[in-house]
Symmetry: C2
Subunit: 124 residues, 2 copies
């Protein structure tokens, strides 16, 4: 039995699923894997997310110790988001999703042109 913030889990995969049980958090992690990013950069790269939802999700990830938020006291403002050590350890999770996605598309989708994943993320 595991406890995280007074919440109870029978199994460690439940802990992970509970943290990433929404639409956006894993996407954000994915985009922070190789480089720290400013708010605006994340917003441009994950273009379907709204500003509001992005700020909410970033705060949630920060409160769960998965990302770090650094504010530079400048004008206009500058806020840089980065993965914490435990956040960086999510790489194998995303990597296995990346590989499964390729297999899924090979079977049920079509491939047109090349894989436009950011270079260096995985050597696949």
């Amino acid at each position: 039995m595991y406890f995280v913030n007074d919440k109870e889990f029978k199994c460690s995969v439940g802990v992970t699923l509970d943290i990433f049980n929404d639409k956006w958090k894993l996407s954000i992690i994915w985009h922070l894997l190789d480089n720290d990013k400013r708010f605006k950069e994340l917003h441009q790269e994950i273009s379907e997310i709204t500003q509001k939802t992005l700020t909410v999700k970033l705060r949630e990830l920060e409160s769960k110790n998965i990302i770090h938020r650094e504010v530079f006291p400048e004008v206009p403002p500058k806020v840089v988001y980065s993965l914490t050590p435990i956040g960086k350890k999510l790489r194998p999770v995303l990597e296995s999703m990346f590989k499964w996605g390729i297999e899924y598309v090979e079977e049920f989708g079509t491939i047109n042109g090349e894989n436009a994943c950011e270079i260096g993320k995985f050597n696949t």
Copy 2:
């Protein structure tokens, strides 16, 4: 560039995230990894999900070719759900989530008693 059902993705991890962008699908996969299950069994094991949501999510997973639904013409009804070949290939994804969850709990949670994951799922 990948296409799945006329939806466009730059990267294969996007395909995966798009399929599992809701609250319940990965939990359902997790519970089907080792054994095929009837509707009622899934409902009892994933006790927080409602009947309605479970049926919706099962139908969505079926339409994406990730689970198979077999109806036995009996009374009372019997419906057995199982993973398709591509569904079974999600094991590494869940396995990496399982491992990350343990690391996360070791750092930010507490462990009380033992891990109550179903035996045989992973030898960790």
